[in-house]
Symmetry: C2
Subunit: 160 residues, 2 copies
DNA sequence: TTTATAATTTGAATTTAATTCTGTTTTTGA
DNA sequence: TCAAAAACAGAATTAAATTCAAATTATAAA
């Protein structure tokens, strides 16, 4: 009963993930040197990590300033959570490309949305065009980011 | 007076960024095919984008579940912002590896922190050991994420 | 507009890396 | 203990990255 969702990771897997999280374009030879394996063996492991969906994507962090994405905001949404109408709100919001995160949170507000846009006008525009279409939204509260000190998705990988 | 902070990006640069944001391990040949250039020319452009810090990092998105990072939380921090003591709070918090984001926000709360840990006990532990050390913190309010519907850093790249 | 200069691009040549594959070793479970 | 499966190494092959000289294109000064 082996299932590809079972994430059994040994020390070498964690080392590989650690290196690739830091630099997804590192060569197999460099990884091999670090972990003490042959490059071909490293390749096998990486492929397996991809198959098991431990590795979800190889991506590039781009400077938002370079793309004039000046505005970052968090929006708290209070919604009617009737039976079944639950996921409608989140799914619709998740579809908006400028929306980077949608979380269902504990507490008074139901949802937390992170959104990055060109400016406050474009944020308003998105809220008008998209949010008003979505039923069951009671109210929203928007928090504007003035300055970002740290922003990364890197996980803390325990090197056993 | 040319400055490497001047981010002048043409259509091809944006196309390249779009492709690399989706898959940082795409080959120059594949990019070249998409944008209608020679692979060597693509390489030059990519190197330039790295130099200009438009490209900040090539990274790997790893499934947090695979690493037992079960808890995601947002912490709102209210702090005394005296003259000069401003950055002390954020810099200290940004140093914590489990902290993924630190923002200075508009409104009543000063800072917004995103943090990912193994469980609520380890979150408490971090708050006890780190936050208590930091002066000027008036109060904190923690919001626990129950479920994440969407989570990505991808920017919306305008293909002119 | 002309022209010199710099920047960009190409394509071939070269270097480096990824991938495949076979034979071994190691692990796993009956 | 032993058979089957999985993981690994190392050589061979394939593919990609990188270099570089020459050509093209863009830029700016006269």
């Amino acid at each position: 009963m082996i299932n590809e969702n079972e994430f059994v990771l040994d020390k070498i897997d964690l080392q590989i993930l650690n290196l690739m999280q830091e630099n997804s374009r590192i060569s197999n030879a460099d990884i091999a040197r670090e972990v003490g394996m042959a490059p071909s063996g490293v390749l096998e492991r990486v492929k397996k990590l991809e198959q098991k969906k431990v590795i979800q994507q190889y991506t590039t962090r781009i400077n938002p300033v370079a793309l004039q994405q000046k505005l970052l905001a968090f929006i708290f949404i209070k919604a009617n959570v009737g039976p079944g109408c639950d996921n409608l709100v989140t799914d619709e919001i998740a579809k908006i490309p400028e929306v980077q995160e949608v979380h269902h949170v504990a507490g008074d507000d139901c949802y937390l949305v992170k959104i990055r846009t060109y400016d406050s006008a474009s944020l308003m525009n998105i809220m008008r065009t998209h949010f008003s279409q979505i039923p069951n939204i009671q109210s929203t509260r928007t928090t504007i980011v003035l300055e970002t000190v740290k922003e990364q998705q890197q996980l803390v990988i325990p090197i056993k």
